[in-house]
Symmetry: C2
Subunit: 127 residues, 2 copies
């Protein structure tokens, strides 16, 4: 029983991106649309295997399928990438803001200690 977080979407997106072959398929489809058979041929894996990858990418809505006759035309959908990118950016900026907070704290300390700043007094070990 795997814990399902609040955003199953992000889960599916990152799961789909985690596999190198799926990333290559995505890159291929970003260049131009293609049929399932084309993808299978270009990556020399069985049609059955491709179907599974396609299914995962489709579930993550990173691929759109357009049935045209007997061909299934696969198109790249970049939309879900935004959420992944935003999550990553959020962690980075969160971390950056923490650094800023620490910096502010130190600056404030420096400002307070205008009357003789006791440098090298951080991390005192048994003073």
């Amino acid at each position: 029983m795997r814990y399902e977080g609040p955003s199953a979407d992000l889960d599916r997106t990152l799961m789909a991106l985690a596999d190198p072959i799926r990333r290559r398929i995505l890159q291929r489809l970003a260049a131009s649309e293609a049929r399932v058979t084309d993808v299978a041929a270009e990556f020399s894996i069985s049609l059955n295997s491709v179907s599974k990858h396609i299914r995962l990418l489709e579930r993550a809505r990173l691929i759109e399928r357009n049935v045209s006759g007997r061909d299934h035309i696969l198109r790249f959908r970049p939309e879900p990438l935004s959420e992944a990118q935003q999550w990553i950016a959020a962690q980075q900026s969160f971390w950056a803001s923490r650094l800023q907070a620490i910096d502010d704290l130190l600056t404030a300390e420096d400002a307070t200690s205008e009357i003789r700043p006791p440098k090298e007094k951080k991390r005192v070990r048994k003073a």
Copy 2:
């Protein structure tokens, strides 16, 4: 035998981010550093399980370990996130540039077809 792409780093990063628990651990560590025991307690999973997650995150260099006495202080390292972000951005911009190219093409066509544009002549089916 899994295919190892040209960037095993990106692989490890996205693999690490693919799991929701690891993402929560990362978020937690982005807020402030913590010990292994702390993480285990806060997410109520066994110390053994946490170790494995930490190992994966460490292998992806998303976490830095700093042994201080008997405590292992875990710190968030945002650096590897850049590569992941860049890959995603590349796909998005690649796709956007394709759209732009198509747009340019259509505009060029329109400009050329100033002398009577034969609309609906694409995808001719047995004329």
